[in-house]
Protein backbone atom coordinates (compact mmCIF):
# COMPACT_ATOMS: atom_id res chain seq x y z
CA UNK A 1 0.00 0.00 0.00
CA UNK A 2 1.37 3.36 -0.86
CA UNK A 3 2.41 5.37 2.08
CA UNK A 4 0.38 8.42 1.56
CA UNK A 5 1.21 10.96 4.22
CA UNK A 6 -1.23 13.39 2.71
CA UNK A 7 -4.43 11.45 3.21
CA UNK A 8 -7.74 12.22 1.65
CA UNK A 9 -9.40 14.91 3.73
CA UNK A 10 -11.88 13.43 6.19
CA UNK A 11 -14.80 15.21 7.67
CA UNK A 12 -14.60 15.13 11.44
CA UNK A 13 -17.03 12.81 13.12
CA UNK A 14 -19.44 13.90 15.79
CA UNK A 15 -17.43 12.61 18.72
CA UNK A 16 -14.23 14.20 17.38
CA UNK A 17 -15.96 17.56 17.40
CA UNK A 18 -17.22 17.08 20.94
CA UNK A 19 -13.81 17.14 22.55
CA UNK A 20 -10.17 17.83 21.93
CA UNK A 21 -7.06 18.33 24.05
CA UNK A 22 -5.93 21.44 22.21
CA UNK A 23 -7.85 23.90 20.09
CA UNK A 24 -5.77 25.83 17.58
CA UNK A 25 -7.60 28.84 16.18
CA UNK A 26 -5.87 30.16 13.10
CA UNK A 27 -7.04 33.74 12.64
CA UNK A 28 -4.22 34.95 10.41
CA UNK A 29 -3.94 34.59 6.66
CA UNK A 30 -2.38 31.29 5.79
CA UNK A 31 -2.44 29.33 2.60
CA UNK A 32 -3.18 25.63 2.61
CA UNK A 33 0.51 24.73 2.49
CA UNK A 34 1.17 26.82 5.59
CA UNK A 35 -1.73 25.17 7.38
CA UNK A 36 -0.53 21.72 6.38
CA UNK A 37 2.99 22.50 7.63
CA UNK A 38 1.56 23.73 10.90
CA UNK A 39 -0.59 20.64 11.33
CA UNK A 40 2.38 18.34 10.62
CA UNK A 41 4.26 20.11 13.37
CA UNK A 42 1.38 19.66 15.83
CA UNK A 43 1.42 15.94 15.23
CA UNK A 44 4.80 15.82 16.94
CA UNK A 45 3.14 16.71 20.24
CA UNK A 46 2.79 14.04 22.85
CA UNK A 47 1.09 10.86 21.84
CA UNK A 48 -2.66 10.45 21.99
CA UNK A 49 -3.25 14.18 22.11
CA UNK A 50 -6.15 15.33 19.99
CA UNK A 51 -5.62 18.68 18.32
CA UNK A 52 -8.56 20.50 16.75
CA UNK A 53 -7.69 23.14 14.19
CA UNK A 54 -10.15 25.86 13.30
CA UNK A 55 -9.42 28.02 10.27
CA UNK A 56 -12.00 30.21 8.54
CA UNK A 57 -10.49 30.10 5.09
CA UNK A 58 -9.64 26.47 4.98
CA UNK A 59 -10.00 25.11 1.48
CA UNK A 60 -11.95 21.91 1.22
CA UNK A 61 -9.62 20.46 -1.36
CA UNK A 62 -6.52 21.18 0.66
CA UNK A 63 -4.39 18.76 2.56
CA UNK A 64 -5.07 16.52 5.33
CA UNK A 65 -4.77 16.45 7.63
CA UNK A 66 -6.86 14.13 9.55
CA UNK A 67 -4.42 11.37 10.08
CA UNK A 68 -5.32 8.56 12.36
CA UNK A 69 -3.88 8.94 15.85
CA UNK A 70 -0.99 6.64 16.57
CA UNK A 71 1.01 5.64 19.61
CA UNK A 72 3.79 8.04 18.60
CA UNK A 73 1.90 11.07 17.33
CA UNK A 74 -1.02 13.29 18.15
CA UNK A 75 -4.04 13.39 15.89
CA UNK A 76 -4.90 16.62 14.16
CA UNK A 77 -8.28 17.32 12.64
CA UNK A 78 -10.19 20.26 11.34
CA UNK A 79 -13.38 21.30 13.00
CA UNK A 80 -16.12 23.31 11.41
CA UNK A 81 -15.73 26.86 12.52
CA UNK A 82 -16.83 27.03 16.13
CA UNK A 83 -16.09 30.68 16.36
CA UNK A 84 -19.00 33.08 16.66
CA UNK A 85 -19.02 35.90 14.15
CA UNK A 86 -18.10 39.15 15.90
CA UNK A 87 -20.85 41.74 16.16
CA UNK A 88 -21.06 44.01 13.14
CA UNK A 89 -20.88 46.98 15.50
CA UNK A 90 -17.50 45.92 16.87
CA UNK A 91 -14.48 47.06 14.91
CA UNK A 92 -10.71 46.90 15.24
CA UNK A 93 -9.43 45.77 18.60
CA UNK A 94 -12.93 45.19 20.00
CA UNK A 95 -13.73 42.87 17.11
CA UNK A 96 -10.49 40.95 17.73
CA UNK A 97 -11.34 40.70 21.41
CA UNK A 98 -14.78 39.27 20.60
CA UNK A 99 -13.10 36.69 18.34
CA UNK A 100 -10.67 35.71 21.09
CA UNK A 101 -13.53 35.36 23.52
CA UNK A 102 -15.32 33.06 21.10
CA UNK A 103 -12.12 30.96 20.82
CA UNK A 104 -12.15 30.56 24.61
CA UNK A 105 -15.83 29.62 24.52
CA UNK A 106 -15.17 27.07 21.77
CA UNK A 107 -12.23 25.59 23.71
CA UNK A 108 -14.43 25.35 26.80
CA UNK A 109 -17.10 23.60 24.75
CA UNK A 110 -14.52 21.12 23.47
CA UNK A 111 -13.29 20.62 27.06
CA UNK A 112 -9.81 21.39 25.77
CA UNK A 113 -6.82 21.54 28.12
CA UNK A 114 -5.53 24.54 26.28
CA UNK A 115 -6.03 26.70 23.25
CA UNK A 116 -3.62 28.33 20.90
CA UNK A 117 -4.45 31.45 18.90
CA UNK A 118 -2.37 32.14 15.80
CA UNK A 119 -3.27 35.59 14.52
CA UNK A 120 -0.12 36.94 12.93
CA UNK A 121 2.02 35.79 10.11
CA UNK A 122 5.74 35.47 10.49
CA UNK A 123 7.82 36.71 7.64
CA UNK A 124 9.94 33.59 7.64
CA UNK A 125 7.58 30.72 8.08
CA UNK A 126 9.28 28.06 10.14
CA UNK A 127 7.24 24.96 10.80
CA UNK A 128 7.66 24.66 14.54
CA UNK A 129 6.84 28.24 15.53
CA UNK A 130 3.11 27.64 16.08
CA UNK A 131 3.91 24.38 17.85
CA UNK A 132 6.25 26.22 20.20
CA UNK A 133 3.32 28.37 21.34
CA UNK A 134 1.38 25.25 22.33
CA UNK A 135 4.14 23.03 23.78
CA UNK A 136 4.62 24.88 27.10
CA UNK A 137 0.89 24.37 27.86
CA UNK A 138 1.39 20.60 28.00
CA UNK A 139 5.03 20.10 28.77
CA UNK A 140 5.74 23.05 31.06
CA UNK A 141 2.32 23.49 32.67
CA UNK A 142 2.28 27.13 31.62
CA UNK A 143 -1.00 29.02 31.87
CA UNK A 144 -0.15 31.69 29.35
CA UNK A 145 2.37 31.53 26.52
CA UNK A 146 3.33 34.90 25.06
CA UNK A 147 5.29 35.59 21.89
CA UNK A 148 8.59 37.43 21.82
CA UNK A 149 9.01 38.58 18.24
CA UNK A 150 12.30 39.57 16.76
CA UNK A 151 12.18 43.34 16.67
CA UNK A 152 13.08 45.64 13.84
CA UNK A 153 13.72 49.30 14.58
CA UNK A 154 10.25 50.57 13.78
CA UNK A 155 8.05 47.56 14.49
CA UNK A 156 5.19 47.61 16.96
CA UNK A 157 5.79 51.19 18.12
CA UNK A 158 2.57 51.52 20.07
CA UNK A 159 3.45 48.38 21.97
CA UNK A 160 7.05 49.50 22.46
CA UNK A 161 6.20 53.05 23.57
CA UNK A 162 3.22 52.44 25.85
CA UNK A 163 1.75 48.97 26.28
CA UNK A 164 4.78 46.77 27.00
CA UNK A 165 6.76 49.13 29.26
CA UNK A 166 3.63 50.15 31.16
CA UNK A 167 2.67 46.51 31.72
CA UNK A 168 6.19 45.86 32.95
CA UNK A 169 6.13 48.80 35.36
CA UNK A 170 2.63 48.10 36.64
CA UNK A 171 2.69 44.33 37.08
CA UNK A 172 6.38 43.72 37.65
CA UNK A 173 7.03 41.31 34.79
CA UNK A 174 9.13 42.07 31.71
CA UNK A 175 6.57 41.17 29.07
CA UNK A 176 7.50 42.04 25.50
CA UNK A 177 4.16 41.57 23.76
CA UNK A 178 1.35 41.65 26.33
CA UNK A 179 -1.25 41.98 23.58
CA UNK A 180 0.10 39.12 21.49
CA UNK A 181 -1.66 38.73 19.15
CA UNK A 182 -0.50 35.11 19.28
CA UNK A 183 -1.22 33.33 22.54
CA UNK A 184 -1.19 29.95 24.17
CA UNK A 185 -3.81 29.80 26.92
CA UNK A 186 -4.42 27.04 29.44
CA UNK A 187 -7.85 25.82 30.41
CA UNK A 188 -7.48 27.40 33.84
CA UNK A 189 -6.89 30.82 32.37
CA UNK A 190 -9.47 30.82 29.59
CA UNK A 191 -12.14 29.59 31.99
CA UNK A 192 -11.31 32.50 34.30
CA UNK A 193 -11.56 34.88 31.38
CA UNK A 194 -14.97 33.46 30.44
CA UNK A 195 -16.23 33.64 34.02
CA UNK A 196 -14.96 37.18 34.53
CA UNK A 197 -16.49 38.40 31.30
CA UNK A 198 -19.85 36.76 31.85
CA UNK A 199 -20.06 37.85 35.47
CA UNK A 200 -18.74 41.35 34.95
CA UNK A 201 -20.45 44.63 34.08
CA UNK A 202 -22.03 45.09 30.66
CA UNK A 203 -20.41 47.54 28.24
CA UNK A 204 -17.95 50.10 29.62
CA UNK A 205 -15.50 48.31 31.86
CA UNK A 206 -16.16 44.80 30.57
CA UNK A 207 -13.22 42.41 30.46
CA UNK A 208 -11.40 42.68 27.14
CA UNK A 209 -10.03 39.34 25.98
CA UNK A 210 -7.07 40.79 24.12
CA UNK A 211 -5.96 43.51 26.54
CA UNK A 212 -6.93 41.78 29.80
CA UNK A 213 -5.42 38.35 29.17
CA UNK A 214 -1.88 39.15 30.30
CA UNK A 215 -2.81 41.41 33.24
CA UNK A 216 -5.30 38.79 34.47
CA UNK A 217 -2.64 36.10 34.41
CA UNK A 218 -0.15 38.43 36.12
CA UNK A 219 -2.53 39.53 38.85
CA UNK A 220 -3.59 35.96 39.59
CA UNK A 221 0.04 34.79 39.74
CA UNK A 222 -0.42 32.26 36.97
CA UNK A 223 2.55 30.77 35.18
CA UNK A 224 3.61 32.76 32.14
CA UNK A 225 6.23 31.82 29.59
CA UNK A 226 7.60 33.69 26.61
CA UNK A 227 8.59 32.01 23.37
CA UNK A 228 11.12 33.49 20.98
CA UNK A 229 9.67 33.73 17.49
CA UNK A 230 10.80 35.32 14.25
CA UNK A 231 9.98 38.67 12.70
CA UNK A 232 6.30 39.39 12.40
CA UNK A 233 4.49 40.86 9.38
CA UNK A 234 2.77 44.13 10.15
CA UNK A 235 0.05 45.85 8.19
CA UNK A 236 1.11 49.17 6.61
CA UNK A 237 0.44 52.38 8.53
CA UNK A 238 -2.63 54.43 7.65
CA UNK A 239 -1.47 57.90 8.62
CA UNK A 240 -4.90 59.47 8.25
CA UNK A 241 -6.22 57.10 10.88
CA UNK A 242 -3.55 57.30 13.58
CA UNK A 243 -5.87 58.93 16.10
CA UNK A 244 -8.44 56.17 15.61
CA UNK A 245 -5.76 53.57 16.26
CA UNK A 246 -4.89 55.20 19.57
CA UNK A 247 -8.55 55.61 20.49
CA UNK A 248 -9.12 51.95 19.64
CA UNK A 249 -6.12 50.31 21.31
CA UNK A 250 -5.56 52.32 24.49
CA UNK A 251 -9.03 52.32 26.15
CA UNK A 252 -9.01 48.62 27.11
CA UNK A 253 -5.44 49.03 28.41
CA UNK A 254 -6.42 51.97 30.59
CA UNK A 255 -9.65 50.28 31.69
CA UNK A 256 -7.61 47.29 32.78
CA UNK A 257 -5.41 49.57 34.85
CA UNK A 258 -8.53 50.76 36.63
CA UNK A 259 -9.79 47.26 37.18
CA UNK A 260 -6.48 45.95 38.52
CA UNK A 261 -5.49 49.00 40.56
CA UNK A 262 -5.31 47.03 43.81
CA UNK A 263 -2.89 44.57 42.19
CA UNK A 264 -0.42 46.86 40.45
CA UNK A 265 -0.11 49.38 43.23
CA UNK A 266 1.58 46.71 45.33
CA UNK A 267 4.35 45.72 42.91
CA UNK A 268 7.69 47.43 43.23
CA UNK A 269 10.21 45.84 40.90
CA UNK A 270 10.14 43.96 37.65
CA UNK A 271 11.50 40.51 36.94
CA UNK A 272 12.10 38.72 33.63
CA UNK A 273 9.79 35.95 32.46
CA UNK A 274 11.05 32.45 31.70
CA UNK A 275 11.69 32.20 27.98
CA UNK A 276 11.84 29.29 25.59
CA UNK A 277 14.04 29.18 22.53
CA UNK A 278 16.93 31.29 21.44
CA UNK A 279 16.43 34.98 20.67
CA UNK A 280 15.94 35.48 16.96
CA UNK A 281 17.61 38.49 15.40
CA UNK A 282 15.96 40.25 12.53
CA UNK A 283 19.16 41.03 10.72
CA UNK A 284 20.62 44.36 9.70
CA UNK A 285 18.01 47.09 9.58
CA UNK A 286 18.89 50.26 7.74
CA UNK A 287 15.35 51.66 7.55
CA UNK A 288 15.08 55.42 8.00
CA UNK A 289 12.05 57.62 8.36
CA UNK A 290 11.34 61.24 7.57
CA UNK A 291 10.51 62.74 10.95
CA UNK A 292 9.53 66.15 9.60
CA UNK A 293 5.78 65.41 9.21
CA UNK A 294 5.66 63.91 12.70
CA UNK A 295 7.44 66.90 14.27
CA UNK A 296 5.13 69.27 12.40
CA UNK A 297 2.11 67.35 13.75
CA UNK A 298 3.54 67.66 17.22
CA UNK A 299 4.13 71.39 16.80
CA UNK A 300 0.61 71.95 15.44
CA UNK A 301 -0.84 70.00 18.34
CA UNK A 302 1.23 72.01 20.77
CA UNK A 303 -0.11 75.25 19.28
CA UNK A 304 -3.77 74.31 19.01
CA UNK A 305 -4.44 71.73 21.71
CA UNK A 306 -2.94 73.52 24.73
CA UNK A 307 -6.43 74.17 26.08
CA UNK A 308 -7.26 70.46 26.03
CA UNK A 309 -3.86 69.27 27.22
CA UNK A 310 -4.01 71.72 30.13
CA UNK A 311 -7.01 69.76 31.48
CA UNK A 312 -4.86 66.62 31.63
CA UNK A 313 -1.21 67.62 31.99
CA UNK A 314 0.36 69.74 34.73
CA UNK A 315 1.95 73.12 33.91
CA UNK A 316 5.49 71.76 34.16
CA UNK A 317 4.77 69.17 31.46
CA UNK A 318 3.14 71.77 29.22
CA UNK A 319 6.19 73.99 29.64
CA UNK A 320 8.51 71.13 28.66
CA UNK A 321 6.37 70.44 25.59
CA UNK A 322 6.52 74.08 24.54
CA UNK A 323 10.31 74.02 24.87
CA UNK A 324 10.45 70.81 22.86
CA UNK A 325 8.36 72.23 20.03
CA UNK A 326 10.91 75.01 19.51
CA UNK A 327 13.83 72.63 18.99
CA UNK A 328 15.23 72.15 15.47
CA UNK A 329 14.56 68.83 13.74
CA UNK A 330 17.95 67.24 14.35
CA UNK A 331 17.85 68.05 18.06
CA UNK A 332 14.28 66.91 18.58
CA UNK A 333 14.42 64.53 21.54
CA UNK A 334 11.61 63.85 23.96
CA UNK A 335 13.04 62.82 27.35
CA UNK A 336 11.76 59.45 28.55
CA UNK A 337 10.67 60.94 31.88
CA UNK A 338 8.48 63.46 30.07
CA UNK A 339 6.85 60.80 27.88
CA UNK A 340 6.22 58.55 30.87
CA UNK A 341 4.54 61.37 32.80
CA UNK A 342 2.37 62.14 29.79
CA UNK A 343 1.21 58.53 29.44
CA UNK A 344 0.50 58.20 33.16
CA UNK A 345 -1.39 61.51 33.26
CA UNK A 346 -3.51 60.46 30.29
CA UNK A 347 -4.25 57.14 31.98
CA UNK A 348 -5.35 59.02 35.06
CA UNK A 349 -7.49 61.45 33.04
CA UNK A 350 -9.08 58.45 31.34
CA UNK A 351 -10.05 57.07 34.73
CA UNK A 352 -11.35 60.43 36.03
CA UNK A 353 -13.20 61.16 32.75
CA UNK A 354 -11.75 64.66 32.81
CA UNK A 355 -13.01 65.07 29.25
CA UNK A 356 -14.72 62.71 26.82
CA UNK A 357 -12.52 59.62 26.60
CA UNK A 358 -12.61 59.61 22.83
CA UNK A 359 -11.43 63.24 22.71
CA UNK A 360 -8.79 62.51 25.33
CA UNK A 361 -7.12 59.70 23.42
CA UNK A 362 -7.40 61.38 20.03
CA UNK A 363 -5.76 64.51 21.45
CA UNK A 364 -2.82 62.30 22.47
CA UNK A 365 -1.94 61.63 18.81
CA UNK A 366 0.43 64.61 18.31
CA UNK A 367 2.25 63.66 21.52
CA UNK A 368 2.65 60.08 20.35
CA UNK A 369 3.97 61.24 16.98
CA UNK A 370 6.41 63.49 18.84
CA UNK A 371 7.68 60.45 20.73
CA UNK A 372 8.03 58.45 17.49
CA UNK A 373 10.04 61.26 15.91
CA UNK A 374 12.27 61.46 18.98
CA UNK A 375 12.73 57.67 18.97
CA UNK A 376 13.63 57.72 15.26
CA UNK A 377 16.19 60.43 15.96
CA UNK A 378 17.73 58.28 18.68
CA UNK A 379 18.18 55.39 16.27
CA UNK A 380 19.84 57.32 13.47
CA UNK A 381 22.25 55.17 11.57
CA UNK A 382 25.16 57.30 12.69
CA UNK A 383 25.02 55.93 15.88
CA UNK A 384 23.64 55.91 18.85
CA UNK A 385 22.01 52.79 20.15
CA UNK A 386 20.16 49.59 19.34
CA UNK A 387 16.34 49.45 19.61
CA UNK A 388 16.56 46.96 22.50
CA UNK A 389 18.82 49.20 24.58
CA UNK A 390 16.75 52.26 23.74
CA UNK A 391 13.51 50.59 24.77
CA UNK A 392 15.09 49.14 27.89
CA UNK A 393 15.91 52.71 28.95
CA UNK A 394 12.30 53.66 28.32
CA UNK A 395 11.05 50.71 30.39
CA UNK A 396 13.28 51.74 33.28
CA UNK A 397 11.84 55.25 33.05
CA UNK A 398 8.32 53.80 33.31
CA UNK A 399 9.35 51.90 36.43
CA UNK A 400 10.97 54.98 37.94
CA UNK A 401 7.85 57.07 37.22
CA UNK A 402 5.47 54.61 38.83
CA UNK A 403 5.56 56.38 42.18
CA UNK A 404 4.23 59.52 40.47
CA UNK A 405 1.37 57.45 39.03
CA UNK A 406 0.52 55.79 42.34
CA UNK A 407 0.50 59.11 44.14
CA UNK A 408 -1.74 60.79 41.56
CA UNK A 409 -3.99 57.73 41.34
CA UNK A 410 -4.66 57.81 45.05
CA UNK A 411 -4.88 61.58 45.44
CA UNK A 412 -5.88 63.05 42.07
CA UNK A 413 -6.87 66.41 43.55
CA UNK A 414 -3.56 67.00 45.24
CA UNK A 415 -1.56 70.00 44.01
CA UNK A 416 0.35 68.95 40.91
CA UNK A 417 2.70 71.66 39.53
Amino acid sequence: MEADSIAQPMEPTADQIDSADLLVAVLGEFDSKGIATMCDAFRTLAAKLRVAVSHEAREESAAPVNAEPTQESASVFFVPSLLAKPSSLATGVQSMSDTYQSVFAAADKLQARGCCIIASKLEAVTPPWALRMAQPLFEGQADLVLPHYARRKFDGLLNASIIAPMTRALYGKRVNNPMGPDFGVSRRLFQRMLTARNGGPVGGNRLHALASLTPTALCQNLQITEVHLGTRSYSPTDWTNMSSVLADVLPPVFLDMERNAACWQRTRFSAPLPAIGEPVFSGPDSATVDIRPMVESFQLGNRELQEIWSLVLPPSTLFELRKLSRLPLEQFRMPDELWVKIVYDFALAHRLRTISRDHLLKSMTPLYLGWVASYANDLLPSGATSPERRLERLSLAYEAGKSHLVSRWRWPDRFNP
Partner: protein, 234 residues
Protein backbone atom coordinates in the same frame (compact mmCIF):
# COMPACT_ATOMS: atom_id res chain seq x y z
CA UNK B 1 -77.43 121.14 46.42
CA UNK B 2 -75.25 120.58 49.43
CA UNK B 3 -77.27 117.51 50.14
CA UNK B 4 -76.44 116.18 46.69
CA UNK B 5 -72.76 116.97 47.13
CA UNK B 6 -72.77 115.32 50.53
CA UNK B 7 -74.59 112.33 49.05
CA UNK B 8 -72.06 112.04 46.23
CA UNK B 9 -69.16 112.26 48.64
CA UNK B 10 -70.65 109.64 50.94
CA UNK B 11 -71.27 107.38 47.92
CA UNK B 12 -67.74 107.68 46.57
CA UNK B 13 -66.22 107.27 50.02
CA UNK B 14 -68.37 104.19 50.56
CA UNK B 15 -67.35 102.84 47.18
CA UNK B 16 -63.67 103.53 47.91
CA UNK B 17 -63.81 101.99 51.33
CA UNK B 18 -65.71 98.99 49.95
CA UNK B 19 -63.14 98.55 47.22
CA UNK B 20 -60.30 99.06 49.71
CA UNK B 21 -61.87 96.54 52.02
CA UNK B 22 -62.21 94.04 49.20
CA UNK B 23 -58.59 94.81 48.22
CA UNK B 24 -57.22 94.12 51.72
CA UNK B 25 -57.61 90.32 51.75
CA UNK B 26 -55.95 90.16 48.35
CA UNK B 27 -53.14 92.36 49.62
CA UNK B 28 -52.76 90.26 52.70
CA UNK B 29 -52.68 87.17 50.51
CA UNK B 30 -49.97 88.79 48.37
CA UNK B 31 -47.88 89.62 51.44
CA UNK B 32 -48.28 86.09 52.80
CA UNK B 33 -47.46 84.60 49.39
CA UNK B 34 -44.36 86.77 49.15
CA UNK B 35 -43.26 85.89 52.68
CA UNK B 36 -43.74 82.18 52.04
CA UNK B 37 -41.95 82.40 48.70
CA UNK B 38 -39.04 84.26 50.32
CA UNK B 39 -38.68 81.53 52.92
CA UNK B 40 -39.03 78.79 50.30
CA UNK B 41 -36.57 80.56 48.01
CA UNK B 42 -34.02 80.82 50.82
CA UNK B 43 -34.40 77.10 51.67
CA UNK B 44 -34.20 75.97 48.04
CA UNK B 45 -31.26 78.24 47.29
CA UNK B 46 -29.36 76.84 50.29
CA UNK B 47 -30.05 73.26 49.26
CA UNK B 48 -29.06 73.89 45.65
CA UNK B 49 -25.91 75.75 46.74
CA UNK B 50 -24.85 72.86 48.99
CA UNK B 51 -25.49 70.29 46.29
CA UNK B 52 -23.56 72.26 43.68
CA UNK B 53 -20.65 72.90 46.03
CA UNK B 54 -20.65 69.19 46.84
CA UNK B 55 -20.25 68.23 43.18
CA UNK B 56 -17.64 70.98 42.53
CA UNK B 57 -19.91 72.63 40.01
CA UNK B 58 -17.66 75.66 39.51
CA UNK B 59 -14.56 73.55 38.79
CA UNK B 60 -16.46 71.21 36.50
CA UNK B 61 -17.91 74.10 34.48
CA UNK B 62 -14.42 75.46 34.02
CA UNK B 63 -13.21 72.07 32.84
CA UNK B 64 -16.07 71.80 30.39
CA UNK B 65 -15.04 75.08 28.80
CA UNK B 66 -17.49 77.48 30.45
CA UNK B 67 -14.96 79.59 32.31
CA UNK B 68 -16.58 82.73 30.89
CA UNK B 69 -19.76 81.98 32.87
CA UNK B 70 -17.84 82.70 36.06
CA UNK B 71 -17.19 86.24 34.84
CA UNK B 72 -20.93 86.91 34.60
CA UNK B 73 -21.66 85.34 37.95
CA UNK B 74 -21.84 87.13 41.30
CA UNK B 75 -18.51 86.74 43.12
CA UNK B 76 -17.28 84.76 40.05
CA UNK B 77 -19.25 81.78 41.25
CA UNK B 78 -21.65 80.03 38.85
CA UNK B 79 -22.99 78.17 41.90
CA UNK B 80 -24.23 81.45 43.33
CA UNK B 81 -25.68 82.40 39.96
CA UNK B 82 -27.70 79.19 39.78
CA UNK B 83 -28.88 79.32 43.40
CA UNK B 84 -29.87 82.98 43.14
CA UNK B 85 -31.65 82.36 39.82
CA UNK B 86 -33.69 79.62 41.47
CA UNK B 87 -34.46 81.94 44.39
CA UNK B 88 -35.62 84.69 42.01
CA UNK B 89 -37.82 82.24 40.13
CA UNK B 90 -39.47 81.05 43.33
CA UNK B 91 -40.06 84.63 44.54
CA UNK B 92 -41.48 85.58 41.14
CA UNK B 93 -43.80 82.59 41.27
CA UNK B 94 -44.92 83.66 44.75
CA UNK B 95 -45.55 87.17 43.50
CA UNK B 96 -47.64 85.90 40.61
CA UNK B 97 -49.65 83.66 42.93
CA UNK B 98 -50.11 86.60 45.27
CA UNK B 99 -51.40 89.02 42.68
CA UNK B 100 -53.72 86.36 41.30
CA UNK B 101 -55.48 86.59 44.66
CA UNK B 102 -56.72 90.09 43.78
CA UNK B 103 -60.09 90.07 42.32
CA UNK B 104 -59.10 92.26 39.42
CA UNK B 105 -59.51 90.84 35.98
CA UNK B 106 -56.39 92.37 34.54
CA UNK B 107 -54.19 90.95 37.29
CA UNK B 108 -55.73 87.55 36.71
CA UNK B 109 -55.13 87.78 32.99
CA UNK B 110 -51.56 89.02 33.56
CA UNK B 111 -50.86 86.21 35.97
CA UNK B 112 -52.38 83.70 33.61
CA UNK B 113 -50.32 84.77 30.62
CA UNK B 114 -47.16 85.05 32.75
CA UNK B 115 -47.64 81.55 34.12
CA UNK B 116 -48.40 80.24 30.62
CA UNK B 117 -45.13 81.81 29.42
CA UNK B 118 -42.97 80.13 32.06
CA UNK B 119 -42.82 76.69 30.31
CA UNK B 120 -41.70 78.42 27.10
CA UNK B 121 -38.97 80.23 29.01
CA UNK B 122 -37.84 76.98 30.60
CA UNK B 123 -37.86 75.17 27.25
CA UNK B 124 -35.87 77.98 25.65
CA UNK B 125 -33.34 77.86 28.48
CA UNK B 126 -33.05 74.12 27.94
CA UNK B 127 -32.52 74.63 24.22
CA UNK B 128 -29.80 77.19 24.97
CA UNK B 129 -28.11 74.89 27.48
CA UNK B 130 -28.18 71.90 25.14
CA UNK B 131 -27.01 74.10 22.28
CA UNK B 132 -24.05 75.38 24.28
CA UNK B 133 -23.03 71.93 25.44
CA UNK B 134 -23.32 70.58 21.90
CA UNK B 135 -21.39 73.55 20.51
CA UNK B 136 -18.52 72.99 22.93
CA UNK B 137 -18.44 69.25 22.21
CA UNK B 138 -18.54 69.66 18.43
CA UNK B 139 -15.95 72.45 18.51
CA UNK B 140 -13.58 70.22 20.45
CA UNK B 141 -14.22 67.26 18.10
CA UNK B 142 -13.54 69.37 15.04
CA UNK B 143 -10.40 70.89 16.60
CA UNK B 144 -8.89 67.53 17.51
CA UNK B 145 -9.86 65.95 14.20
CA UNK B 146 -8.47 68.84 12.17
CA UNK B 147 -5.19 68.93 14.15
CA UNK B 148 -4.75 65.18 13.64
CA UNK B 149 -5.23 65.71 9.91
CA UNK B 150 -2.56 68.44 10.00
CA UNK B 151 -5.03 71.13 9.00
CA UNK B 152 -3.32 74.44 9.83
CA UNK B 153 -6.54 76.39 10.29
CA UNK B 154 -7.97 73.87 12.74
CA UNK B 155 -8.82 76.47 15.38
CA UNK B 156 -10.64 78.64 12.86
CA UNK B 157 -12.77 75.67 11.78
CA UNK B 158 -13.50 74.79 15.39
CA UNK B 159 -14.61 78.32 16.30
CA UNK B 160 -16.75 78.47 13.16
CA UNK B 161 -18.55 75.25 14.04
CA UNK B 162 -19.07 76.43 17.63
CA UNK B 163 -20.65 79.71 16.54
CA UNK B 164 -22.85 78.03 13.96
CA UNK B 165 -24.34 75.79 16.63
CA UNK B 166 -24.68 78.63 19.18
CA UNK B 167 -26.41 80.91 16.64
CA UNK B 168 -28.74 78.05 15.74
CA UNK B 169 -29.57 77.44 19.40
CA UNK B 170 -30.24 81.14 20.06
CA UNK B 171 -32.49 81.39 17.01
CA UNK B 172 -34.42 78.30 18.12
CA UNK B 173 -34.80 79.71 21.63
CA UNK B 174 -36.03 83.10 20.40
CA UNK B 175 -38.38 81.41 17.93
CA UNK B 176 -39.81 79.39 20.79
CA UNK B 177 -40.34 82.54 22.87
CA UNK B 178 -42.14 84.15 19.93
CA UNK B 179 -39.97 87.24 20.21
CA UNK B 180 -40.11 89.07 16.86
CA UNK B 181 -40.19 85.78 14.96
CA UNK B 182 -39.98 87.34 11.51
CA UNK B 183 -36.91 89.41 12.36
CA UNK B 184 -35.25 86.49 14.15
CA UNK B 185 -35.79 84.22 11.15
CA UNK B 186 -34.35 86.74 8.74
CA UNK B 187 -31.43 87.67 10.99
CA UNK B 188 -30.62 84.02 11.62
CA UNK B 189 -30.71 83.23 7.90
CA UNK B 190 -28.37 86.10 7.08
CA UNK B 191 -26.00 85.35 9.97
CA UNK B 192 -25.91 81.60 9.46
CA UNK B 193 -25.50 81.94 5.73
CA UNK B 194 -22.76 84.52 6.31
CA UNK B 195 -20.84 82.24 8.68
CA UNK B 196 -21.09 79.28 6.31
CA UNK B 197 -20.03 81.43 3.36
CA UNK B 198 -17.08 82.85 5.30
CA UNK B 199 -15.98 79.34 6.32
CA UNK B 200 -16.31 78.04 2.77
CA UNK B 201 -14.31 80.93 1.36
CA UNK B 202 -11.64 80.54 4.03
CA UNK B 203 -11.34 76.80 3.46
CA UNK B 204 -11.48 77.14 -0.30
CA UNK B 205 -8.97 79.97 -0.61
CA UNK B 206 -6.58 78.40 1.88
CA UNK B 207 -6.85 75.02 0.22
CA UNK B 208 -6.22 76.30 -3.28
CA UNK B 209 -2.46 75.80 -3.03
CA UNK B 210 -2.90 72.66 -0.98
CA UNK B 211 -5.12 71.05 -3.62
CA UNK B 212 -2.75 72.05 -6.41
CA UNK B 213 0.19 70.51 -4.54
CA UNK B 214 -1.86 67.42 -3.74
CA UNK B 215 -2.78 66.90 -7.40
CA UNK B 216 0.84 67.44 -8.41
CA UNK B 217 1.92 64.90 -5.77
CA UNK B 218 -0.59 62.34 -7.05
CA UNK B 219 0.69 62.74 -10.60
CA UNK B 220 4.35 62.33 -9.63
CA UNK B 221 3.49 59.46 -7.25
CA UNK B 222 1.93 57.54 -10.13
CA UNK B 223 5.13 57.80 -12.16
CA UNK B 224 7.50 57.18 -9.20
CA UNK B 225 8.12 53.77 -7.64
CA UNK B 226 6.31 53.27 -4.33
CA UNK B 227 8.48 53.58 -1.23
CA UNK B 228 7.43 51.43 1.72
CA UNK B 229 6.92 53.25 5.01
CA UNK B 230 9.03 51.39 7.61
CA UNK B 231 6.97 52.61 10.58
CA UNK B 232 4.67 49.98 12.08
CA UNK B 233 2.54 50.98 15.03
CA UNK B 234 0.48 47.90 15.75
Amino acid sequence: MWEQVKHALVDSTTRFLTRFASFLPGFAALVVALLVSFVLAWVLASIVRRVLVGVDFDERLERWGYASLAEWSPMNSPTRLVSRSIAVLVILSGFLIGIAAFDFQWTYMFAQSAVAYIPKVLTSLLVLLVGNVLAAFLARSVLIGAVNLNVQYARFLSVGVKWIVIVLAFAMALEHLRIAPGIVELAFGILFGGIVLALSLAVGLNSKDLIAKSVERDVTKATREPVEDPLRHL
